[in-house]
């Protein structure tokens, strides 16, 4: 798979750490250190991004197998190894992480003024953890990365966040940790019974039906918090509100995908029968999430909170798609994850632009911004429409596929997902109307400057990506087509075998 025998994935994963080390080693007065840290972080993340483009170019789309595999035995007597590799499901998330990181660093260029060095180090460590998590092919390695992501994120919220940052950081940390502990127990069970934590090998192992239920709920506890699914979503709005802009972008863009990725990578292939049995539960929770959080979003007075709640609603679409177990649903879920990563990240950046200038997230504080900052108004509108799911922009494709997929399973679920279309339009347009339209009522807003070159540089790639994903989604869909087809086939085979066993 890895033609050159070159550990590309490890390089992508750990290169940011090298960058972090360089930043740490710089001495001098504060301004020098800060400037140095910014540039080093930017260059490191850009190089990582360029390297990850090799993945894009050299990935064999026709194969569902893991590629760019690296395997080193670590604790051979326990069946634990350092095993990395990507398949169609994970490769684009690696790219999403490496693409969003430089954008985030650029977005925090001036917004972060204190402890710049530590901030940049935290971000680079975060990148390592994210990439490592998506590329890990050993359950223990996965778990380590999965948990370690929390630490830099905890610090980013807790140190550079807003007024209630400590409350938000602890809430975020405790919520997600609590779930993960149960997952650790499940992993121990699997290791104890299968004798390995190697993920491809685990796929061969058939978990007994009785155990599947318990493991399913242990995984659910961990992944549902990360997604987040209703009713364990309340950490997210708080975390988003308090996190600095770039923290929100990564949180929405990548961290929320970890839970859904967990469902796709572990729950579905390892626990086919339990997944099928509890799909209705997931559907109910997801539809509730879509309707409930959309309504809650409608009532918000804080821009970031509104977008945070909209994220929960969008992730509800994702979980619906995952548990349809058909190709449209799964591909739609994956696509929505990617699209949401780009679009909601961009929406948080939009909020950040205003926050940097006015230092308020309150919707009431604004009004008539489109007249003062026309370019910004256009960009914000663009992403608002993308979030609403306008065809031709990124989110639509995923939503569309999920609804088509869900219809094949249960039309009422599709209807529930489709209700999100109405409510989503309602809260996003209501937000946009209050912020951008209307008369300028506050005189101090008149002095606002339109987007600066740095901000154009932040938004340009996201705009291009959103258009590209909307108009020609095939270049992304083709990446995971084979893997999704394989997943569906395996799932059906496993269910078929179980049914046969039941008859005999």
């Amino acid at each position: 798979m890895n033609a050159a025998g070159f550990p590309l994935l490890s390089l992508i994963t750990f290169l940011p750490l090298a960058g972090a080390a360089i930043i740490m080693s710089v001495r001098g007065d504060e301004a020098v250190v800060a400037r140095n840290a910014r540039w080093t972080a930017l260059w490191t993340s850009l190089i990582v991004f360029l390297l990850s483009l090799i993945l894009w170019a050299r990935f064999d789309q026709s194969s569902a197998a893991f590629q760019f595999v690296e395997k080193v035995s670590w604790l051979p007597e326990f069946g634990v190894g350092y095993h990395m590799g990507v398949d169609g499901i994970s490769v684009l998330f690696v790219l999403l992480s490496t693409a969003l990181t430089p954008i985030c660093i650029l977005a925090s260029w001036e917004a972060i003024e204190t402890r710049v060095r530590e901030y940049m180090v935290a971000f680079l460590i975060l990148e390592t953890m994210m990439v490592g998590m998506f590329a890990a092919l050993d359950f223990i390695v996965f778990y380590v990365f999965f948990e370690a992501v929390l630490i830099p994120m905890f610090l980013i919220i807790g140190v550079w966040g807003g007024a209630r940052r400590v409350y938000a950081a602890f809430k975020f940390f405790l919520y997600t940790l609590l779930g993960s502990v149960l997952m650790l127990l499940a992993i121990l069970y699997l290791w104890y019974n299968a004798g390995t934590t190697d993920i491809p090998q685990l796929f061969e192992y058939q978990v007994p039906r009785a155990a599947q239920t318990w493991i399913f709920f242990a995984f659910l506890a961990s992944f549902a918090v990360k997604v987040p699914m209703w009713p364990v979503h309340t950490w997210l709005p708080d975390a988003h509100v308090e996190a600095p802009t770039a923290g929100s972008v990564i949180l929405a863009g990548v961290l929320l995908k970890m839970g859904a990725y967990g469902f796709l990578r572990f729950t579905l292939p390892l626990l086919p029968e339990a997944s099928a049995a509890f799909a209705p539960l997931i559907f109910v929770l997801s539809v509730v999430a879509v309707v409930y959080t959309s309504l809650v979003a409608l009532a918000q007075e804080d821009m970031k909170k509104l977008i945070a709640y909209s994220s929960v609603a969008h992730m509800g679409i994702v979980t619906i798609g995952i548990f349809t177990f058909n190709q449209q649903g799964l591909a739609g879920a994956l696509f929505t994850m990617l699209a949401h990563g780009v679009v909601s990240g961009a929406l948080f950046l939009c909020v950040g632009v205003l926050y940097d200038r006015v230092h308020s997230r309150e919707i009431q504080r604004y009004g008539g911004v489109a007249a003062i900052m026309p370019s910004y108004g256009l960009v914000f509108l663009f992403f608002t429409m993308a979030s609403v799911g306008l065809p031709g922009l990124a989110n639509f494709v995923g939503e569309f596929l999920v609804i088509v997929g869900a219809w094949r399973v249960n039309p009422w679920v599709a209807f529930g997902a489709a209700l999100g279309m109405i409510l989503g339009a309602a809260y996003m347009l209501y937000l946009y109307r209050r912020v951008s339209f209307g008369k300028v009522t506050r005189e101090d807003l008149r002095a606002l400057l339109d987007l600066r070159p740095r901000e154009y540089a932040v938004f340009a790639p996201l705009i291009l990506l959103t258009l590209w994903m909307g108009v020609y989604p095939q270049s992304f869909l083709s990446f995971f087509e084979a893997s999704v087809a394989n997943l569906v086939a395996r799932h059906e085979a496993a269910l078929g075998a179980a049914r046969l066993a039941g008859i005999q």
């Binding site: 809430k171 405790l174 919520y175 009713p231 979503h233 309340t234 709005p237 409930y292 309504l295 809650v296 409608l298 009532a299 918000q300 058909n326 190709q327 449209q328 591909a331 739609g332 008539g368 489109a370 007249a371 429409m385 306008l390 065809p391 031709g392 639509f396 494709v397 569309f400 596929l401 609804i403 088509v404 869900a406 219809w407 094949r408 039309p411 599709a414 209807f415 489709a418 209700l419 279309m421 109405i422 339009a425 309602a426 347009l429 209501y430 109307r433 951008s436 339209f437 209307g438 008369k439 108009v471 020609y472 989604p473 095939q474 869909l477 083709s478 087509e481 999704v484 087809a485 569906v488």
Partner: protein, 662 residues
Amino acid sequence: MFVGAIFFPLLGATISGFFGRWIGDKAAQWSTVICMVLAAICGVLAFAQVALGGDPTTVPIVTWMDVGGLEVSWALRYDTLSVVMVAMVTFISTLIHLYSVGYMSHDATPPRFFAYLSLFTFMMLMLVTADNLAQLFFGWEGVGLASYLLIGYWYDRESANRAAMKAFIVNRVGDVFFMLGLALTFHVFGSIEFSTIFSSVEAHAGDTFLGINAIELIGVLLFLGACGKSAQLGLHTWLPDAMEGPTPVSALIHAATMVTAGVFLVCRMSPVMEFAPTALAIVTIVGASTAFFAATIGCVQNDIKRVIAYSTCSQLGYMFFAAGVGAYQVAMFHLFTHAFFKALLFLGAGSVIHAMSDEQDIRRMGGIWTKIPVTYAVMWIGNLALAGIPFFAGYYSKDAILEAAFASHSGVGFYAFVLGLAAAFLTAFYSWRLLILTFHGAPRADRHTMEHVHESPLVMLVPLLLLAVGAVLTGYVFAPLFIGEHEHAFWNGSIFNAEHNHILHAMHEVPDWVPLAPTVMGVGGIALAYILYMAMPGLPARIAQTFSARPQMVQRLPLVPREGAEQRTEPDPGGLYGFLLKKWYFDELYDLIFVQPARRLATVFWKVGDARIIDGMPNGAADLAVQASRGAVRIQTGRVANYAFAMIIGLVVFVSLFLIGR
């Protein structure tokens, strides 16, 4: 040529939208106009080749998505049905671009306006040339976006913002059903490409879904989607409010093109609809009800644009019930003629508004017909066409619709025929009410406004005159092609009539009084309007008071003078008059059963559900832990006596337990 007709408008939108600031207002405007002219030339050429030459074609562009059997491509499907729309849309859009150059000359940001207008045209063209339901949905939502942007074009007005949002969200309600219909189509046919669907309808005619005939369900769902866009009864509430947008927008989007997308959809899906008789019956009933309902409201409205908006709503109802009785060709014909005379009426109204210094309330107009003779003349032509007076465009299409309804010989068809006739009477009545109140009688505007009344510049008059020509001639010229002896060759299979559907022949064989009835009704309506508003101008107010619960609240003149454009809500006098004036209370009803509960629910979910219950548990657990540890701290007093006491108690408990347990 085929590609050019669609993409020139996009080019214009891009130039004006992104480079408008650098190249200046004039250049931006004219670049969009030039692009539109090019598109119109392509459109007409395409019409000649495809429709007149009988040479349909599909231009593939690129795959959009391909997921597990679901294949969707970007492609331009050119058959007669779509090319009729392409030619009509590009032609009318060009005229409206031209008109806007004059109308928007005092505006602050014309490049933005023209970019939106061109973007709209592009989306509309994508809609009509779609090769599959998903691309149609792309255009469908795209025109929704453009309409949202243009209704809210003057975004410093609160009412405009509210109207824009309402339009988008109400449309979204329809879109949900469209989306579900799309999902069901894929479920049944395994494809959403038109050619695949159409060729396998018969094979799937017996399929059921949830115990319902699947084809019927598809028909109903798609029709509900069409209701949103075409403002049919129940989902019509956004259209009158959409008049907050600049008048050229009302003409192009909310009269001539976008709102007809629903009718187009039903006609496009004719091969499916033909196998869904129940769905067609629903289409007929809803269409006929809308035609009547909107006409009744049109009779009492006082805003010149709202009257025409309700008339649009009503005419769309006609188109729907024509399609509902199986006469899709007739529906398309009315769509086509309607586009000309309704655009004409709106642009004429715009010219009036322009002349009256932005006054829109017909109670403040009157006595201006000598001052703006050209506008007056074209308004006459538009209204004659709308009322279906012989030899104007509307006469041919509206007569044909009513004949088809009569000829269908079904219960719903007769229902449609009766309501259609009644609506024809009302249509003529409100048209002449509008005409007389606007142009005749004593001037009711203030002196300052009256002194400024002036005819519009040439750039606005030329489109008006061209549309007037269309409103006179399109019926006569195109009737043989659309619904007459050449219809079969003209449509060339792009509209499907099932074997048992002979409506197009039957409609020519109705009793002699049927074709005459609409004309009689129209003339009757005109006569009544003349009597009430010209001959006895005091009478309408007295009638209004008679039919009100609170007669003192009947307003002969608007409460808030011109500056109050923001606040146009009128007091509710109650009774029948109030019922009509307040538009059958639909807005109030929806506010009561959807908007208010949603808001209340949102707050409850947030403040109680999230903050108290869901967050309450972990926060409560945290508090509990803190309190428990505080309690534990209190035990650690540091006094030996206390510890000793605790030890003795513990010992006693253990010993007794031991003794009892043994």
